[in-house]
């Protein structure tokens, strides 16, 4: 299918599908609004799966559609343009799926990929711990193999969407004697079991999308380990940043929408007549163009079909993260400054406006997924070759 034909097909499907019960989902969910329409968005995931819109770039023999890079980008662009709801299944589709495609056994692929592709099985990522944030290799959650099962004990934190997830991929220490990175394994753990407890973390917005996850003798099947015991670090790092390029270009359209709504408010309330606000709006627009141009030039298509193979991504991903996280945070600050005094009042029950939510939630952008400081270390050490401290 030609690209433009494909674009038309995506657009048509989205328009037809975002109707009826799903019409209310337009613009809902996503970072900062994960608490919205949970059940409906889970149903939407199944709808996406039925439509064949999950795993677009995955190889056909693994159940994907093997679509070229350009069409994957088109899908994300049209998805953002239509204001389709924030995904719940993206952690499975963009993180676990590519990991299994690269490191999973045929049995693991057969067992887990269909649930991701059909939008029926949700995943969360069990990496960060209270004592292992930026220093992920310090992860202390333990797993022991006894009686044909892994027994997990420990705590994960900042686990996005854990309360909506059926499964968690967990970085756990299986060899307490091995040095840091080498003692970790990548385990697949069902969430719905007595040994798993999820506690939501109320964030700065008053809503919850991050959680604490406690493992108290939680069990995983002996075969549900990706790679060999002790391979966990290599497996986890091998897919960091995989597929991000494609979704980053879609993310730009989401940013464009947010910018336009700030611009509309500035026009509406006259604050655009303030020279300082006008200058910041122009700078935000210029920054958006620079980000888009940079993303297009540095995030080329992967060398082959399917997910980009390892090794760990270069510094482009770190550069893109620094650019967008800082830009987005400034847009959030601009949004409330444009709103002015009205931004100091909320609705009942701390109901926030879009501007307030953007302002508050973007404080997380420069922290999660590798803080700005960690990204700068990566760029300085791996990109510029400056010595480690």
């Amino acid at each position: 299918m030609e690209d433009e034909e494909f674009r038309a097909a995506v657009r048509e499907w989205l328009a037809a599908s975002l109707s009826g019960d799903f019409a209310a989902l337009t613009g809902k969910g996503g970072p900062g609004r994960e608490h919205e329409f949970v059940a409906e968005r889970l149903a939407w995931e199944r709808r996406l799966g039925e439509g064949g819109w999950i795993g677009l770039g995955w190889p056909a023999q693994d159940g994907g559609r093997g679509l070229p890079w350009s069409q994957q980008v088109i899908f994300y662009e049209e998805y953002a343009r239509a204001g389709a709801p924030g995904r719940v299944g993206h952690i499975g589709e963009q993180l676990l799926g590519p990991t299994l495609l690269m490191f999973g056994t045929p049995e693991q692929k057969a067992r887990f990929l269909p649930g991701i592709l059909s939008g029926t099985q949700m995943w969360c990522q069990g990496y960060s711990e209270p004592g292992a944030g930026s220093d992920l290799a310090a992860a202390a959650t333990r797993a022991e193999l006894r009686g044909g099962e892994w027994h997990l004990n420990g705590q994960k934190i900042w686990t996005s969407l854990a309360h909506m997830a059926d499964w968690c991929f967990v970085l756990a220490r299986t060899d307490p004697k091995a040095e840091r990175h080498r003692g970790l394994s990548y385990l697949l753990v069902p969430m719905n079991q007595p040994g798993v407890e999820i506690r939501p973390i109320a964030a700065i917005t008053g809503t919850s999308e991050f959680n604490e996850v406690f493992f108290d003798d939680a069990r995983a099947d002996a075969d549900d380990i990706v790679g060999a015991p002790g391979d966990g670090w290599r497996v986890a790092m091998g897919t960091l940043g995989v597929e991000r390029g494609v979704s980053t270009l879609g993310q730009q359209l989401g940013f464009q929408r947010e910018f336009e709504s700030v611009l509309a408010q500035a026009r509406g309330n006259g604050s655009i007549g303030d020279p300082d606000i006008a200058a910041r709006i122009a700078d935000a627009w210029i920054g958006l163009q620079v980000m888009r141009i940079t993303a297009q030039s540095t995030l080329g298509p992967p060398p082959g079909a399917g997910p980009r193979p390892g090794p760990a991504p270069g510094t482009e991903a770190s550069m893109a993260k620094l650019l967008w996280a800082s830009w987005h945070q400034r847009l959030g600050e601009l949004a409330v400054d444009v709103a002015g005094a009205s931004a100091t009042q909320t609705g009942p029950d701390y109901d926030l406006s879009d501007a307030q939510r953007l302002f508050l939630h973007t404080r997380a952008d420069t922290i999660y997924g590798g803080s700005n400081e960690i990204q700068r270390n990566i760029i300085a050490e791996r990109g510029l070759g400056l010595p480690r401290g």
């Binding site: 210029i286 550069m319 620094l322 510029l384």
Partner: protein
Amino acid sequence: MYETDSPEQAALRDTVRDFCRRHAGGPTGPAWQRLTGELGLTGLAIDERCGGMGAGLAEVAVAAEELGRILLPVPYLSTALAGAVLSEGDQEAAAGLLPGLASGALTAAFVFTGDITVAGARLSGIAGNVLDGGEAGVFLVRAEGKLHAVRAADAAVTAAGTLDQARSQATVTFRDSPALATGADGDRAEELMRVLLAAESVAAAEHCLDVTVAHLKSRQQFGRPIGSFQALKHRCADLAVEVSSARATARAAVAAAAFGQGDLGVLAPLAKRYCVDVFWHVAAEMIQLHGGIGFTWEHEAHRYLKRAKTSQLLLGTPAQLRRLVAHRAGLY
């Protein structure tokens, strides 16, 4: 999108880089003669029938980047751009100028500012801050949107002392000076000059960052290379992000200039503002991160700082270009 050099552009870049290595710091006259006569760089965008190389603006940008990387003090930008824009205008009118520009025998400067009036085929008025104006043989003067060529001999040229000593400026006075209507678009020429300044600035910024990072790796204090201190590393990382995004932005602007990809009216001022601001930031950090040595006349850092500030303040200041971009993008 035009992202990387074509094989021909890569070869051109190597040639110019090699040339720069051998002529950096040497006498300007012989460098200009070789750069034009032997390498034909001012004729890159001029048709072969007029003595040029028959390439285009993308190739001019490659040469401008490499010459700008070492701040070679030659009037390349204006002369090469003159070849490009005159080739886009009335070929017959330009026929008397193009061979000289291609061979380097004739150097050019653009007059975009000042209050210039046209009466018949004569120009009058005064223009200041004419870049590359000190040594220009012909002035291409924007009046009523079009470029008019005036021989330097028919104008009064006062060369100025310049903050950036590698690029001349002049005040030029026209008094009923005979002018040739070239038919070339003066507004487009101004946008193209902005694009070339953006491209040149990125290359210069890359150089400043490279030199600074090398210094941080070798300079020892407190018994270790100062580049191992996070306070300095993080600043370099931020500069690397800026330079990388400026590189992409300049390329997008060159693509708009050379191949009509994208909106030149927005991209040219946007790229000029962003890329030169980045250059300015890197040059300022270069001095700070070099410490005292960076403040000396002997070290090259001050030459980059001065070039960056000069490029920032000419052809639209950052504040002016921000308003221009906002206006052209329809923001307000």
